[in-house]
């Protein structure tokens, strides 16, 4: 089996090498830019952790060790949560419903080897939380406590085991999900997805950031500290990352348990062997069931099922049928929905995390509070940009080989742009306005400021969609149908740069508004006017440029 896994990996390595050699300078620049962005984010997280640990980890008495323990446990649990969500979101198209798997399954490849190949691929795509949160956290702790060299080797092993824990948990959950997907009707599954998503977020946040978190650290005396430590163990004890955090703490606190690392490694090895055996027995059967869901001859109408009502059902105004077509394309695509759900999960997670950090830092002071509100807005703006890049940017290009339908029709192209714009604004507004409302609730923002905050969020949706959709229309690519590849093009990078610039400007306005209200109790109308002017300017400019470009664009070039 191992030989086959290596052979399959080698084929991918050769393909990647060829792609790298054939890549033009623009693609290489884009790849380099995204790597730089990733490194900058990780470096920022490292600096944040280091500043925190330097302040807190020096103290050996009082609640300081408890706070270090909490931060480490919470960081590991966060990595697990984000990694598993990422694994599950990408695993169905990667492991079960994939063209390459279809081809490989027809070849004499061991099922367990095929599964392991796809599993490792999905695992490599979900390792990013380890790199962005796990590595900076442990490196910062080491630097803050002047840890000896063996600490870093120990931490590297812990992070490797953490990555494997994430992948194994994700693999197990995705198996259950695929099994349910093969059994349940689609509508039930979508409902279950939604419920699971909300429940997971709620339970996770309640567990990691419990009510009255500060009480755990508001302790004096050895007995109280021990009680709080046990409470932390009770909170994080059921996470598979708990032994890893306990083991890592051994270098900074006497309560650490270095032997836990060995036990964890043993448990992971056993789980890997069991999963391989399990995959050898069930993977092919499950994949086949998945394939049969969309069997070519399985027409909905053939078994006498009721005919769908005439199209368009809801959006009859003007060219509303474009809106409805986009709506059906989006809501009937599980992959798109999974990606959207995953991004929403990250957004809400980010907001709760910011709230927790702000709570630890103290929210009474207006400057601190305005910074926290502005940081939350920046997160909302960033996710509006991310959603725009993932969905609105490729919206025109993804019409791809279907572009002939509209291009050869009497419809004006600027109308196509307008209706696609309305649609993506409506879709992206739901999580973004929702996130803005959650932020208002979390920070207890007073209502005059809340109106300004909501206006800024609505403006951000309008601007991010026009920038991303506009860039996608200025540089359409009808050949490349993978939305991830489409949005990591030079045009996507330009949209990212413009979007980040806009979010930065609007975040400053939000901070000005918040500070003015908290300091003087006045509403800063100038800041609100500023953000409206910037938004109207960017929307008008892109609308005109992109609509004109579309009128002269050519579709369907192969």
């Amino acid at each position: 089996m191992f030989k086959e896994v290596v052979q399959l990996a080698d084929v991918r390595r050769l393909a990647a090498r060829r792609a790298w050699r054939e890549a033009n300078w623009a693609r290489m620049a884009v790849a380099a830019a995204f790597i730089v962005v990733g490194v900058v984010i990780a470096a920022g997280v490292f600096l944040l952790f280091r500043a925190f640990f330097v302040e807190i980890a020096g103290a050996t008495e009082g609640p300081a060790p408890l706070i270090v323990k909490y931060v480490l446990e919470a960081s590991f649990a966060t990595v697990l949560f984000l990694g598993v969500a990422s694994f599950v979101a990408s695993s169905i198209p990667l492991i079960y419903a994939n063209g390459e798997v279809r081809l490989l399954a027809a070849l004499p490849v061991e099922p367990s080897a095929l599964f392991m190949h796809r599993f490792l691929l999905a695992a490599s795509l979900s390792v990013w939380p380890v790199l962005v949160v796990g590595v900076p956290a442990l490196a910062a702790l080491g630097v803050a406590v002047h840890a000896p060299a063996p600490y870093y080797a120990f931490a590297a092993v812990a992070l490797l085991l953490l990555s494997l824990t994430v992948a194994l948990t994700g693999g197990l959950l995705s198996f259950v999900f695929a099994w349910l997907a093969a059994l349940l009707p689609r509508s039930w599954l979508r409902l279950a997805d939604g419920v699971l998503f909300v429940a997971m977020l709620f339970l996770f946040m309640r567990q990691i950031v419990p009510h009255a978190l500060y009480r755990i650290f508001d302790v004096n005396g050895a007995a109280a500290i021990e009680a709080s430590s046990q409470r932390l163990d009770a909170i994080f004890g059921w996470f598979p990352t708990h032994p890893l955090a306990q083991a890592t703490l051994a270098f900074t606190q006497p309560s650490g348990q270095p032997a836990a690392l060995a036990w964890n490694a043993l448990a992971i090895a056993v789980a890997l062997v069991l999963m391989t055996l399990f995959a050898g027995r069930w993977y092919i059967a499950l994949r086949q069931r998945f394939e049969e869901i969309s069997f070519v001859a399985g027409y909905r109408g053939a078994d006498g099922a009721a005919k769908q009502p005439p199209f368009p059902r809801l959006w009859r105004l003007g060219h509303g049928y474009i809106f409805e077509k986009e709506w059906l394309n989006f809501t009937r695509n599980p992959d798109q929905l999974a990606r959207a759900g995953f991004l929403m999960l990250l957004l809400f997670f980010c907001l709760f995390a910011l709230r927790a950090v702000a709570k630890l830092g103290g929210l009474d002071e207006p400057v601190m509070q305005s910074k926290a509100v502005a940081a939350s807005f920046a997160a909302i703006g960033y996710f509006a940009l991310a959603l725009g890049l993932r969905f609105a940017f490729p919206a025109l290009s993804q019409d791809g080989r279907c572009a002939w339908v509209i291009w050869s029709s009497p419809m004006h192209r600027h109308e196509l742009f307008s209706w696609k714009y309305f649609f993506w604004c409506a879709v992206i507004a739901v999580p973004i306005i929702g996130a803005a409302l959650v932020t208002i609730r979390l920070f207890g923002v007073p209502w005059p400021l809340a109106i300004g905050f909501l206006t800024a969020a609505a403006c951000t949706v309008a601007a991010m969609v026009v920038v991303t959709l506009g860039q996608g229309c200025l540089y359409p690519d009808f050949r490349d149908r993978d939305p991830d590849e489409l949005s990591t093009s030079p045009a996507g990078l330009a949209a990212t740069a413009i979007g980040v610039g806009y979010v930065w400007v609007v975040t400053r306005y939000v901070r000005m508004m918040t500070l003015a209200y908290l300091m003087d109790g006045r509403f800063d109308a100038v800041a609100l006017f500023g953000l409206l002017v910037v938004t109207v300017g960017i929307v008008a400019a892109y609308w005109v440029i992109a609509s004109r470009a579309l009128e002269h664009a050519e579709a369907g070039r192969a």
């Binding site: 009497p410 050519e554 369907g556």
Partner: protein
Amino acid sequence: MSEPALLLKKVTKKFRTVTAVRDLSLEIMPGEIYGLIGPNGSGKTTTIKTIAGLYRQTKGTIEVNGLDVIRHPTRSKRGLGYIPDDPQAYDRLSGREFLEFVGQIFGMERGRRDERVAMLLDRYGLKDVAEGAFGQYSRGNRQKISILAALLHEPKLLLIDEPMIGLDPQSARITKEMLREFASAGGAILLSTHTLAVAEELCGRLGILKEGQLIEEGTVAELGRRANVGHGSLEDYYLALTA
């Protein structure tokens, strides 16, 4: 005399350094089926896509039912139906939803649209199939739905790129019948194909494209005379003329 349904005057289409179509002139009258044949890469698909508005010509003029496609892009397209060589449509819509969508784009009145959709689906016996998602269709069923989409709004000119690929013999016969009915009702057809038997059976006139240029034009008999190969089939004439 009525005006041509399609008129191309010295049309050239360049893609950066490559000239796909060079100084092409064509005239197709209402009721006529005109076949465009030629080797791979000779510019047939590019010509059709340029007329359909997917590409913009580099030089020359194109008129559809008397309307210049550059000056009157939307009005000229109202009378045009296009069947692409690769019949892809929105995978997540059902075949019927797709046809209804096309009817909406062409501004059809709802009652008329639904009546036409039902009638056209009936021609191929696709009523049940049309309720399934387009992405699950076989190549042949995709082709049938795209043929019906082009006929739905009762255009005056049909542009067809490889009409018979993927069709079973029964469906191919139905398609040929529908195209003949369309032409006998006064519609004009520009048909590009590599299936010479289909071209010979359906087309009144044929044009042979080679390296973007129209090298011969005429009826099958006229092409035969110019090919000078004695008695033979269109295949013999074609091979002689493109050699």
